[in-house]
Symmetry: C2
Subunit: 259 residues, 2 copies
């Protein structure tokens, strides 16, 4: 049943945007969580974004959605100068699907890739300079966490490596910081934990971005500007947690027949 | 040319989301600027968002994009409990198109509408309580502006009416406020103007949301919770500026034959 008009809405041609002709066209893709998103941008400017909660036939729907996005933005795949991939941490299968897509695009078109972690994307585009704790719920009682120094312009600078820990461990690692921005879907949990163990400091929970691809687009442009890019073959996922299959194998729960 | 798989990616059925079954499904639509966006949400949760810069065949493409969004979110039009319309201020034609679409949907399905202004949507979902100046570039040297008291939960409370003024007038109207959040695509201009006329205070420019529909979805849910909804026939645009045609008519530049 279609209550709407049929047919795609072919967007304006990129060639009309003469004022930004020297800026790279960037396709950003995030599949690190169920909240899949993709963005097309030109330089700092976001042209189009699509995001949805996908937990059903994601790897198949991704291609249809990417085509829709390109079509609505009036961009062809060959027009894309740079690809931005979310390297994680995040779900194993989602990351595999997203990285495979970006690797394929970049390889086929001989284009570079800006590798952006999900934590870096969340720390990016803050309007306050200073320490930012990014905390993302990794489920099973654990959180991905990383501390950054936020810049009001430029990329955030990592002050720690991405970690996977309990919320108590995450908060303990930053508890001495007086003024701290908290972002990510684990930020509320970290804030509550901090309140349990002492008087609350100058900590502030930030509003979450609706979808990560918009933030990735900004990070990718900043990486492009400083030449921090990789080739398709150098693109690697950051899992920060071993795959369930690896854990089960090490525990002897699966794969006995393979030993 | 299609390099991708064909066919729509039918999303999961809403009936699977049993944990949120008592929350309203909301469709939010913003056409107040060239940055058209639309969002589907359930309660506080954003299910899907699409946004693009559209200045070419917008009124036609809108329907195709809405159908895509519904399809990807696995939502049918009849499932939508509440519509959220951006009433402006903003471009005349864009607002007309968006309001006509929402009026049609709401009327046909006998559903209520949350009327959200573009300024209110920008002031919404702040993570700092206190005064927020929303400033949106209206072009021709003018800015839409409105002062709100931001809440960390709940809707922002308007402290002034929406106005249309020069950036000098906008800044003069709030210049006595020591600690102020600035948001909207005119925020940088207001911040620079404030710096020209005196030492900079505790003013801070916030990161812009990528697209407004995500913010509208939150505002609509808050209005739903307090019963601040209207019927389709009560929905009115806020232009804050007379249409060019009205100005030209009053100046005798057009429409002489009609007098």
């Amino acid at each position: 049943m279609s209550i709407f008009f049929d047919g795609p809405g072919k967007g304006p041609s990129l060639s009309n945007q003469a004022d930004q002709i020297d800026q790279p066209v960037i396709l950003s893709l995030d599949t690190s969580s169920r909240r899949t998103s993709m963005a097309l941008s030109r330089g700092e400017r976001l042209l189009a974004l699509f995001g949805a909660e996908l937990d059903h036939r994601r790897s198949e729907r991704l291609w249809y959605e990417l085509e829709f996005l390109l079509n609505e933005a009036g961009v062809e795949l060959k027009d894309i100068d740079l690809f931005s991939a979310c390297t994680g941490p995040g779900g194993f299968t989602g990351l595999r699907v997203g990285l495979a897509a970006i690797k394929g695009f970049a390889r086929a078109g001989d284009k570079k890739v800006a590798a952006v972690t999900s934590l870096e994307a969340l720390a990016c585009a803050q309007d306050i300079a200073g320490p930012v704790l990014v905390t993302v719920n990794a489920h099973k009682g654990e959180f991905y966490a990383q501390l950054f120094d936020s810049r009001t312009t430029g990329l955030p600078v990592a002050r720690s490596k991405p970690s996977l820990a309990s919320i108590e461990e995450v908060v303990a690692s930053v508890n001495q910081i007086e003024s701290l921005i908290l972002i990510g879907d684990g930020a509320e949990a970290a804030w509550e934990r901090a309140g349990q163990i002492g008087p609350l400091k100058g900590w502030r929970v930030r509003v979450q971005p609706d979808f990560l691809a918009g933030r990735m687009a900004r990070a990718a442009h900043l990486k492009y500007a400083r030449g921090d890019l990789v080739g398709a073959s150098e693109l690697r996922a950051i899992y920060a947690r071993p795959a369930d299959a690896v854990v089960k194998l090490s525990q002897g729960l699966v794969g006995k027949g393979l030993r």
